[in-house]
Amino acid sequence: MADSAHSTTADTHETGGTRRDFLVIAGNALLGIGAACTAWPLVSSMNPARDVIAAGAPIDVDLSSLKPGQQILVLWRSRPIFIVNRTPAELKKLQEPNDTGLLRDPQSEVEQQPPYAQNWHRSIKPEYLVLVGICTHLGCIPEFTPEPGGTLGPGWPGGYFCPCHGSKYDLSGRVFTGVPAPYNLPVPPHRFVNETTVRIGENPPNVAWEFGSIVQI
C-alpha cells in the first residue's frame, strides 16, 4: 500500500501538479467568481434605476408658436433640448463654403445624429433643428448666439458659444475647429407627429436607431 501511494505521488509530480494544487486553484477560482458575483449587484445598483429610465419616455412639443429665428428649450431625460426655427438666411449660411470650411466635421460623419439627420441641415425638416444642448467638451450648456459678428469677432457666422471653455458650434450644432469640444452637438431621436408637433425620443416609422449609439453626449 505504502509503495503504491508513494509512486502515485511521484507520478503526479512529474506531470506538474498534485491533487492539492488542483483543489487550491479550483477553490481560488471559485472564490474569485463568487467575489465578482457579489460585487455585480452592488456595482449595478449604481446604474440608472427603472423609474429614472421610465422618466425618459418620449415627449411631444408644440412648435406652432415658435417664430423663425427663435429657440425654445425643453427637458428630455433631464437633458436640455434646443429646438430652433431657422430663418431662410440662416439656412443659406449653413451651406456657405467659407463657413463650412472652418468646421471639424461638416458632413456629420461622426455618429452624433440619427441617419435621418445626417444632412447639411442636421434635421428632418430644414428649418426645425433639434439638438441636445450639452457641450461635447465637458457638459456645459452652450449659449444660443445666432447674430453674426458681435463679441465673437467679425467672422462669427452665428451659432452656439459655450461659456465654459470657449467651444463654438454653427447653427446646425456642427463644431468649429480650434476649440476644445471634439464633436458636433448630438441630435436626439425625433419625429413629426403632425406639421407642427415634434415628438422627442422616438424615431420616424421604420427607422431603428438607438440614442445610445451616439459617440458623445
Binding site: 434605476a49 433631464s78 450648456i141 476649440v179 476644445p180
Partner: protein
C-alpha cells in the same frame, strides 16, 4: 521608559499591549534632533483630518441629501441650528486649510528628498492620501447643491466621457441617471462620509511606514546612533503643539473674519441645471490641475494630462536619480525646486482665469514645465549635479552649528535657519 506600575494598566497591558505601543510610538520614539518647523505639517495634517471628521459628523446630523432640500438644509444649518454657522465655517475653511497643510507637507518632502529609499512606500501612501482627499473634497463641494456644486460635478464627471468605448457608460454609471441629479447627490453624500475613514486607514499605513525607518531630517542623512536623536516626547510633542497654536490662530482668523474669502459666491445660488454660470472654476486647491486640463486643446489628451500630473508623483522616488536626499546639499536641484513652486502658483493663477489671451500660453508653458521638471530635470540633475560634501553625522552637524552660533543651545535648530527654504 517603562509602562506604569498601576495594577489596572498592567492587567490591560498583559492582554492588549496598547500602553507599550503608545509608549514606543509616541513617547520614547527616537526622532532626529535637527527637525525644523517644516516638519510640523505632518501632525497638523492629522489634526486637520480629525477636525474635518468631527465637524462633518455634526453637519451630517442636519444635512438633507435631496436635490429639493440640500441647499435649504445648508442655509438652515447657517441660520437656525445652534452654532451651525461655526461648525459649517470650520468644515468649509477646514477643507482649504487641510490642503494648505498637505501641500506644504508634500513640497517639504520634495525639497528634503523624503521620498528616497527606504521611504518610497511612505511617499506613495502619501500620494494616495492626496488623491483620496481630492475626491472627498470634490464630492463635499457638491453637497450644498449650489450653482458651482452642480456645474463642477457636471464638468468633472464628464472628464470620464473622454475615454473611448466605455467613457459614456462610466459617466451614466457615476450619475445613476441621464445627468447629474438626485441619485448623484445621494451617492456623493454616501461616499463623502465614507472616504475620510478610508483616508484614516491609509494614514495608519502611512504612520506604520514612517515609524519603520523614522523621520527624514533637513540634512537628509541617516541617524547613526542615539546621539543623533531625541525622544519624541517631550521634544516634538511640544514643538508640534506650539506649531498647532500658531496654525490655529491663522485658521481662526479665516473662520471668524473671512469665512467666505476662499469660496465662490456662485455657490450661494441654488443649482440650476438649465443655466451654466458664466465661468466654472473649482476650489482654489484644484486650480493648478484644472489649468493643466485646459492647457491641452484635445479633450482626451487634456484629461490624460490631468490624471498624469497626479500619478507622476507616484514614481518620483525613481525619477530622482540623486543619491543625496536633502536639497540643502544639492546646488542645482535647490533652484529647480523653487521653479516648480513658482510653476505650481502660476498654474493656479491660470486655472482661475478664463482660457483667453496670454493665459492660454502661460497655461501651456506651465503645463509643459511641470512635466519637464519631473520627467527630464529630476533624472538629469541627479546625474550630472555635484552635491556638496555631507556632514559625518547629525549630531556633529548640530554641534558645529552650535559652536558657530556661540553655543546658543538650540537643540532642534541646526538647519532651521540655514536650510529653511
Amino acid at each position: 521608559m517603562a509602562v506604569s506600575q498601576n495594577k489596572l494598566v498592567q492587567w490591560i497591558e498583559y492582554r492588549l499591549p496598547v500602553f507599550s505601543f503608545l509608549d514606543h510610538e509616541l513617547n520614547e520614539y527616537p526622532t532626529p534632533k535637527n527637525l525644523n518647523y517644516w516638519w510640523n505639517f505632518g501632525s497638523l495634517a492629522g489634526i486637520m483630518l480629525t477636525i474635518m471628521i468631527l465637524t462633518g459628523i455634526f453637519l451630517a446630523m442636519n444635512y438633507d441629501p435631496n436635490v429639493g432640500d440640500a441647499f435649504q438644509s445648508v442655509e438652515r444649518i447657517m441660520r437656525e441650528v445652534n452654532y451651525g454657522w461655526l461648525i459649517r465655517y470650520i468644515h468649509m475653511n477646514g477643507a482649504s486649510f487641510f490642503f494648505i497643510v498637505v501641500y506644504i507637507h508634500l513640497f517639504r518632502g520634495l525639497y528634503y528628498g523624503s521620498y528616497k529609499a527606504p521611504r518610497e512606500l511612505l511617499w506613495m501612501l502619501g500620494v494616495v492620501i492626496v488623491l483620496l482627499m481630492m475626491m472627498t473634497a470634490f464630492m463635499g463641494y457638491v453637497l450644498p447643491w449650489g450653482q458651482m456644486s452642480f456645474w463642477g460635478a457636471t464638468v468633472i464627471t464628464n472628464l470620464f466621457s473622454a475615454f473611448p468605448v466605455v467613457g459614456k457608460d462610466i459617466v451614466t454609471w457615476l450619475w445613476g441617471g441621464f445627468a447629474v441629479s438626485n441619485p448623484t447627490l445621494n451617492r456623493f453624500y454616501s461616499l463623502h462620509y465614507l472616504l475620510p475613514f478610508v483616508i484614516l486607514g491609509v494614514v495608519g499605513l502611512h504612520m506604520m511606514a514612517l515609524h519603520q525607518h523614522g523621520s527624514n531630517n533637513p540634512l537628509g542623512i541617516d541617524r547613526k546612533g542615539p546621539q543623533d536623536s531625541v525622544p519624541f516626547h517631550p521634544y516634538y510633542t511640544y514643538k508640534d503643539m506650539f506649531g498647532l497654536s500658531v496654525f490655529l490662530v491663522v485658521f481662526a482668523i479665516f473662520v471668524f473674519y473671512f469665512p467666505n474669502v476662499l469660496g465662490d459666491p456662485q455657490n450661494y445660488i441654488p443649482a440650476n441645471p438649465l443655466h451654466t454660470p458664466p465661468e466654472i472654476v473649482p476650489e482654489w486647491y484644484l486650480l493648478p490641475f484644472y489649468a493643466i486640463l485646459r492647457a491641452i486643446p484635445n479633450k482626451l489628451l487634456g484629461v490624460c494630462a490631468l490624471f498624469a500630473s497626479i500619478f507622476i508623483l507616484f514614481i518620483v522616488p525613481w525619477l530622482d536619480t540623486s543619491k543625496v536626499r536633502s536639497a540643502y546639499f544639492r546646488p542645482i536641484y535647490k533652484w529647480v525646486f523653487w521653479l516648480l513652486v513658482i510653476d505650481a502658483f502660476a498654474l493656479g493663477a491660470v486655472g482661475a482665469h478664463r482660457p483667453e489671451g496670454f493665459w492660454i500660453y502661460i497655461g501651456r508653458i506651465g503645463t509643459f514645465y511641470y512635466f519637464f521638471h519631473f520627467l527630464v530635470l529630476m533624472p538629469l540633475i541627479g546625474w550630472f549635479e555635484r552635491p556638496l560634501p555631507l556632514p559625518p553625522s547629525i549630531s556633529e552637524a548640530v554641534l558645529k552649528k552650535k559652536q558657530k552660533r556661540g553655543g546658543e543651545g538650540a537643540l532642534t535648530g541646526v538647519a532651521a535657519t540655514r536650510s529653511k527654504p
